[in-house]
């Protein structure tokens, strides 16, 4: 049935198209230029990125280096769950973190139903809309993005790009992204729904909270500026 359907559909489609060659089609496509991208709310990429993270109902923290990142994560876990447990993918960058510095007890592998928190290491991030790019694979099973109550994401400030296109290019240039991975997950907030009378509720199916830890040598007021720009006071964030 499907072969016959395929033949019939393709014949009909051919009858409605002009039958141009691949080279000409490619030239015409290139002539259409590139998509405009969203204007950034601040000249500083990190501020713009965090502005969108806050607007997308995420939370965020800064860390100067990997040791501070682990301490930040440890504090977050303790405040949220009175625990230091965490699931993390088999990512070499995650494995190399100085976990003892933050007293964090990671379990490397795939998240299960009932896990409270998972940590991912973003392959890239886009300031255009506060998105992190995660490539599926043993380094980051998609379940880790979806099953836990809280999803924490480490982002290297050097992996920030102004727009989605450049961030995707970076995500695909890494070892995990080179061989057409099964999935590229662009995450831009906690799981949410407005399906009950337009009331926005977090934690529809996936994480109720989405926490970004931006690692790098950033201006001390980065977080405050982003928060102010997004119109949030500290208590709201």
């Amino acid at each position: 049935m499907t072969d016959e359907a395929r033949r019939e559909i393709l014949t009909r489609v051919r009858g409605s198209c002009r039958g141009a060659g691949a080279v000409r089609i490619g030239e015409e496509l290139n002539a259409l230029g590139r998509s405009p991208v969203a204007q950034l709310p601040d000249p500083d990429l990190a501020v713009s990125f965090l502005y969108h993270v806050f607007r997308n109902r995420g939370s965020a923290a800064l860390a100067r280096d990997r040791s501070e990142a682990v301490r930040v994560i440890g504090r977050y876990l303790y405040e949220r769950f009175r625990s230091h447990k965490l699931v993390a993918g088999n990512d070499s960058r995650l494995a190399a973190l100085p976990w003892r510095d933050g007293g964090v007890l990671p379990r490397f592998g795939i998240a299960q139903d009932g896990d409270q928190a998972a940590l991912s290491y973003a392959s890239a991030a886009a300031a255009e809309c506060g998105s992190v790019f995660l490539v599926t694979g043993k380094g980051n099973p998609a379940s880790n993005n979806l099953l836990p109550e809280d999803h924490l994401v480490l982002v290297d400030a050097g992996d920030l790009r102004p727009d989605l296109d450049q961030a995707l290019e970076l995500a695909q240039s890494g070892p995990a992204g080179q061989a057409r991975p099964r999935g590229i997950n662009i995450i831009s907030g906690p799981s949410s729904t407005g399906d009950i009378a337009l009331q926005l509720v977090q934690g529809a199916h996936g994480p109720r909270r989405w926490h970004v830890v931006l690692v790098g040598d950033l201006a001390a007021d980065t977080l405050v500026r982003a928060r102010q720009l997004a119109g949030f006071t500290q208590s709201e964030e």
Binding site: D113, N145, I196
Partner: protein, 489 residues
């Protein structure tokens, strides 16, 4: 999860059905329900404001809109190149690709895959294509347990209803109705269910079990990328990603007009989609999926299928309505349509309501069946203004009405009236004289009360509101006067 038993409710067929022939009665019934009107009024007020803010924040939104429109037109003009290209790339990614000419064929293919895997439990992400083919009913009749996982879709599935909005399927249901529905359907005993957050927590708990236990996941696609065979899935809830990650078999039900040439074109579409739909800069989950899990992966489906449905789309491609295939299913035209906001989605009695549905439904079924829908329009033009794909919806609706007239479907008295109007409008002197006379007459008759409560031949208007008595002459007279004044100046 072996002890989990699927509730009977996911085995139930739809119990509430509407038909597009009954648009007027259904619209009247919907407008007579004050509780349901509240959310619709909020939708009509809030969504345009939120979209407007998101558009303003973006910057060159019009440039983006025109860019995506050009890409979509280019793709449709060269679909004979891009469709086989997508198929080839999707196959090389390890997918099985199926073509379905009709809804029945899609349903049969999907059932065949489920039966091949001896599957009994299916979780579904939101998919308007499978609404179009009534896949749920088909699978349920075959004995499978199918559960919708988008919260809105889940609510209406439990209620035995159809979606009333292509993005927010349960927008018509007040909170109290949803609360009662959950109390009736979920055997969870005593618990707090006062707020929307309580209800979301409950559905999360119930649906998590379904995700973990199902053997097949079914999702739709927001775009298909020809250059690498990826499919794009956009959700806020993450339910589609769970369907695409946890069950061992994944079936993507989609259509050929979702194809875009490159990943960057899919990203351009992403920029338009959430801003137009709900005023977000991007949805929470934007995912590209290529095929089955790789050797080193611990999750993801072991087998993936892509089913490409035609269902009259190749005919639309060959017709003057080709631009409809540029639609990205954002629902902005619904949110901005005064008829949709007043009447609600169920009034249309079709899978796709609002302006997009009023054009699509006659094309996907027949004009005979859906002839009322192109008339459910005030010609205000807001749908075209906000359509991210820049589809000239009012023009297409006019074309369908013209088609309706041309093929003799229009009622006799309307045909007579339209012919008379056309004849008078074709004789400018007579038109000016007749309208001038009519205006003077109405002015005189109505000047005492300032308007009319009843007026012969205008019962449709005066049944709902008074008709103000005309003041100051016809439009042509006022225009001529203004021109004279300008010349004198």
């Amino acid at each position: 999860m072996a002890t989990w038993t699927w509730p009977l409710s996911v085995r139930a067929n739809r119990t509430v059905e509407q038909h597009c022939e009954d648009f007027l009665d259904q619209a009247s019934a919907a407008m007579a329900q004050p509780e349901r009107r509240k959310t619709m009024d909020m939708l009509g007020l809030l969504m345009p404001l939120m979209r407007g803010q998101a558009v303003a924040d973006f910057g060159d939104f019009e440039g983006l809109r025109q860019h995506v429109r050009a890409i979509r037109q280019h793709t449709l003009d060269n679909l004979d190149h891009y469709l086989p290209k997508f198929e080839q790339e999707a196959l090389s990614n390890g997918n099985r690709v199926h073509f379905a000419r009709s809804g029945e064929e899609l349903n049969s293919i999907v059932l065949g895959i489920c039966q091949q895997h001896k599957a009994r439990r299916v979780t579904k992400g939101k998919s308007m294509v499978t609404e179009e083919t009534a896949l749920n009913d088909y699978l349920l009749k075959a004995g499978l347990a199918v559960v919708e996982t988008d919260l809105g879709e889940y609510i209406i599935q439990q209620a035995g209803e159809t979606p009333s909005h292509i993005v927010a399927p349960a927008i018509h249901k007040p909170v109290a109705e949803i609360r009662q529905l959950f109390l009736d359907k979920h055997a969870l005993g005593e618990r707090e269910l006062e707020t929307a957050a309580d209800m979301v927590t409950e559905s999360r708990q119930v649906l998590r079990e379904h995700f973990l236990a199902s053997e097949v996941g079914i999702i739709g696609a927001n775009a298909l990328v020809a250059e690498n065979g990826y499919s794009l899935l956009v959700t806020n809830e993450g339910n589609g990603d769970l369907c695409a990650t946890l069950p061992p078999v994944l079936i993507v039900c989609t259509t050929m007009e979702r194809i875009v040439p490159r990943t960057r074109d899919a990203l351009a579409l992403v920029r338009l989609l959430a801003r137009s739909a709900v005023g977000q800069s991007i949805s929470c989950y934007t995912s590209f999926y290529s095929g089955p899990r790789r050797a080193d992966e611990q999750d993801g489906p072991l087998e993936t299928h892509i089913v490409l449905l035609d269902n009259h789309r190749s005919e639309i491609l060959a017709s003057d309505y080709r631009e409809m295939l540029q639609c990205i299913r954002c629902g902005a035209c619904l949110n901005h349509c005064p008829v949709y906001v007043a009447a609600g989605g169920h009034a249309y009695g079709a899978v796709y309501p609002g302006p997009v549905g009023s054009v699509l439904t006659p094309l996907l079924s027949s004009l005979e069946e859906a002839q009322l829908l192109p008339n459910a329009c005030t010609s205000c033009g807001r749908c075209e203004e906000v359509c991210p794909a820049a589809i000239p919806l009012p023009q297409l609706l006019r074309d369908l009405r013209h088609e309706e007239f041309r093929t003799g479907l229009t009622a006799g008295r309307w045909r007579l009236g339209l012919r008379l109007h056309a004849w008078v409008a074709g004789h400018p002197r007579l038109y000016r004289y007749a309208t001038g006379l009519g205006i003077r007459l109405l002015h005189r008759l109505g000047r005492k009360k300032g308007g009319f409560r009843h007026l012969p031949l205008a019962g449709g208007w005066t049944s709902q509101r008074d008709l103000p008595a005309p003041q100051g002459g016809t439009f042509s007279q006022l225009y001529a006067r203004r021109q004279r004044d300008r010349d004198d100046d």
